[in-house]
């Protein structure tokens, strides 16, 4: 985002890029400090990534090495047995598909509905607009736990427990999305929309054909956050599914991990499972990391 790419803003004392520092004497004087910063950060990074490394390495260990004492760090003999055992015991492809279906539906509906309201709040002058915006801000502050019990009763009454609809509907349009889209849409010049209205374009056409293409970066940010939020969501899927065939990945893994009769003791299988859930997320995150930090910063700075 602009924060990263604006070189002018990077300027606590030793921050100048080497090629930018005109006086090489000053540069040298700052070097020891710089080295210290790098050492500290690298140490921190090692601690941060240790659990991931431990997980990834353990997923490929044999059962002897998993339970060896003192523990083995790097497998001497890499094996896929843990993955094989896990797939035998746990229908991961099914849970993977459940997670994908739910996350895609949640993401698409958020993109459409949050953008619609975001557009109305940013660009349409209508009675009740401020009240609706107040509602959105209020909704941002309410903890999810407050809704769980009646939501479960409601879904039971609607016979939506163990259905995709039951998993998707409570998350189909989030306040965060509305807030984000409104922020971005406000920066679109009114004159542009006014010109389109003069030419006889309807509001839906303006929204869909003019505004939406202009806020593609915001849509990308919202998609990533919503998809990931749904992918990682645990509490509601735990409550809204009883039938193991409708479990999402986190629910399946947690049920497997906390049931002593199932995986209980087998850390190898659990590391393999965690590896398979975390890996796609990490890959997506590293590929799109700019959008993440941008989204967090945008939400925080406003």
């Amino acid at each position: 985002m602009s924060a990263t790419s604006a070189p002018g803003a990077v300027s606590t004392a030793p921050a100048k890029k080497p090629q930018d520092a005109p006086e090489s004497g000053a540069k040298k004087a700052r070097n020891p400090k710089r080295v210290l910063v790098y050492v500290l950060l690298s140490l921190g990074l090692l601690i941060m990534s240790a659990p991931f490394l431990w997980m990834a390495l353990s997923a490929f260990k044999t059962s002897q090495e998993l339970t060896a004492s003192p523990p083995v760090w790097i497998p001497t003999e890499w094996t896929l047995d843990n993955f094989r055992d896990l797939l035998d015991k746990l229908d991961l492809p099914l849970y993977f598909m459940n997670s994908v279906i739910v996350a895609v539906l949640v993401t698409v509906s958020n993109l459409v509905f949050c953008s619609m309201l975001g557009y109305a709040l940013a660009k349409l002058n209508f009675a009740g607009r401020n009240k609706i915006f107040g509602l959105v801000l209020g909704a941002l502050m309410v903890p999810g736990n407050l809704m769980l019990l009646p939501l479960f009763v409601l879904m039971s009454k609607l016979h939506l427990i163990d259905s995709y609809a039951g998993l998707v509907l409570p998350f189909a349009a989030g306040a965060f999305g509305v807030f984000l889209m409104r922020q971005f849409m406000q920066s679109i010049p009114d004159e542009l929309l006014e010109a389109a209205r003069m030419d006889g374009a309807g509001e839906w056409y303006i929204f869909w054909r003019i505004v939406m293409p202009l806020v593609k970066p915001a849509l990308a940010t919202l998609s990533i956050f919503t998809f990931l939020g749904s992918w990682n969501n645990f509490v509601w899927p735990l409550i809204a599914t009883n039938d193991p065939d409708k479990y999402t990945l986190p629910v399946a893994l947690a049920t497997f991990a906390t049931d002593p009769n199932k995986a209980g003791g087998s850390n190898g299988m659990l590391m393999a499972g965690s590896f398979l859930i975390v890996l796609p997320v990490l890959v997506v995150f590293i590929a799109l990391q700019r959008h993440f930090t941008q989204g967090i910063a945008t939400a925080g700075m406003k």
């Binding site: 990263t4 604006a6 002018g8 803003a9 990077v10 300027s11 606590t12 004392a13 921050a15 890029k17 910063v37 950060l41 921190g44 941060m48 990534s49 240790a50 659990p51 991931f52 997980m55 339970t67 060896a68 523990p71 760090w73 619609m116 309201l117 109305a120 002058n125 607009r129 609706i132 909704a139 903890p143 999810g144 736990n145 407050l146 809704m147 769980l148 019990l149 009646p150 009763v153 039971s156 309807g202 509001e203 839906w204 929204f207 990682n232 509490v235 986190p250 893994l253 947690a254 991990a257 850390n267 590391m271 997320v281 990490l282 995150f285 990391q289 993440f292 930090t293 967090i296 700075m301």
Partner: protein, 330 residues
């Protein structure tokens, strides 16, 4: 549904033109070409664009929030899942019972413990990493930012499973470190005194990235010339940090503190996966307690009262934090 809305909105813009002019918008004034018909169209379009969100909001959020409140004054139990209206109104009984319920008081204490230690640690370490990472050149900063932020995006359940193994006293990562120096690892999650600190360590590890990203954004928003002026006046690095960075970072600090506190007050997945609240309820948090009362024992009225107590606590603390940190700036 989507296509219906689209058709409705489009036909609205075509038809509503002249007829709608007698209902001028009452919203705030906007410089907008002064065409009254356009106002009417916008009034209608505004509501049509808001409808899908509002319907979902009312059914799946506003209604459940109010229903929780109503349920908290009833003896709502398992049989009421199919017949909600049969629940009996019992006034404040649930709330009164809560405060003589040792288990609830313990969960309240555990949650407070988690927040009081966890939030300052997360904020402090996040700030330290942000200040350090902000000093690196661009490419290195991105590298470190990605590394420190990675735990935030990963599935909490998987991460909690991994941490359970990391802390395993016989063959975990930490046990390995202990044995390298010839010591035996304590049973972190099996000990009443160590289970909660272990969970706090994991939460700090996982949430530090969010705070760091916020602080980096905040640091970069501080104008360069303010710093340069300070340095010209002979301010040292520490003085600059205290006199300029910290005060100008206060809004970010406020935001980061508030969202971290709210997140930690709701802590659920970590104890659910790592300890199931044990040993002897030493990691039973309010959210986990509420989940158990509601969905394992089906004491839903009682669990609703718990949810509202937690909500009031969260609101109270948030308001307090906003006050305290705002006052300090003056």
């Amino acid at each position: 549904m989507r296509t219906m809305t689209s058709k409705a909105a489009e036909s609205a813009t075509v038809q509503a033109g002249p007829g709608a002019s007698e209902s001028p918008a009452t919203g705030p004034e906007r410089r907008r070409g002064g065409k009254k018909s356009s106002m009417g169209v916008q009034n209608l379009a505004g509501w049509l664009f808001s409808t899908p969100f509002l319907v979902l909001f009312l059914v799946f959020m506003a209604f459940p929030i109010l229903a929780t409140l109503v349920m908290s004054f009833t003896d709502f139990g398992l049989r009421n899942v199919t017949r909600p209206l049969d629940a009996n109104f019992i006034g404040f009984e649930n709330y009164v019972n809560l405060f003589s319920d040792g288990k609830f008081l313990k969960s309240l204490f555990n949650t407070a413990y988690f927040v009081v230690i966890g939030v300052p640690l997360t904020i402090f370490l996040g700030l330290v990493v942000a200040v350090l990472a902000n000093n690196g050149i661009d490419r290195a900063r991105t590298f470190f930012r990605v590394g420190f932020y990675a735990p935030v995006v990963t599935t909490i359940v998987a991460v909690a499973v991994v941490w359970r193994f990391v802390l395993d006293p016989s063959d975990g990562l930490i046990a390995g470190l202990f044995s390298e120096v010839g010591l035996t690892s304590p049973d972190f999650l099996g000990s009443e005194t160590l289970a909660m600190p272990s969970m706090i360590a994991m939460a700090v590890w996982r949430n530090l990235g969010t705070v760091m990203v916020l602080f980096i954004a905040g640091l970069q928003a501080i104008p360069t010339d303010v710093r340069e002026a300070a340095r010209l006046d002979g301010a040292g690095a520490w003085q600059e940090f205290k006199g300029i960075t910290v005060p100008l970072l206060r809004p970010t600090l406020l935001y980061a503190t508030v969202i971290t506190t709210i997140g930690y007050l709701n802590v659920f997945e970590e104890p659910f996966v790592m300890t199931q609240g044990g040993p002897s309820d030493s990691t039973l948090t309010v959210s986990l307690n509420m989940y158990r009362e509601g969905f394992n024992f089906f004491h839903m009225g009682y669990a609703s009262a718990m949810a509202y107590v937690l909500f009031v606590v969260i609101m109270g603390i948030t308001v307090l934090q906003l006050r305290l940190l705002k006052d300090n700036t003056k």
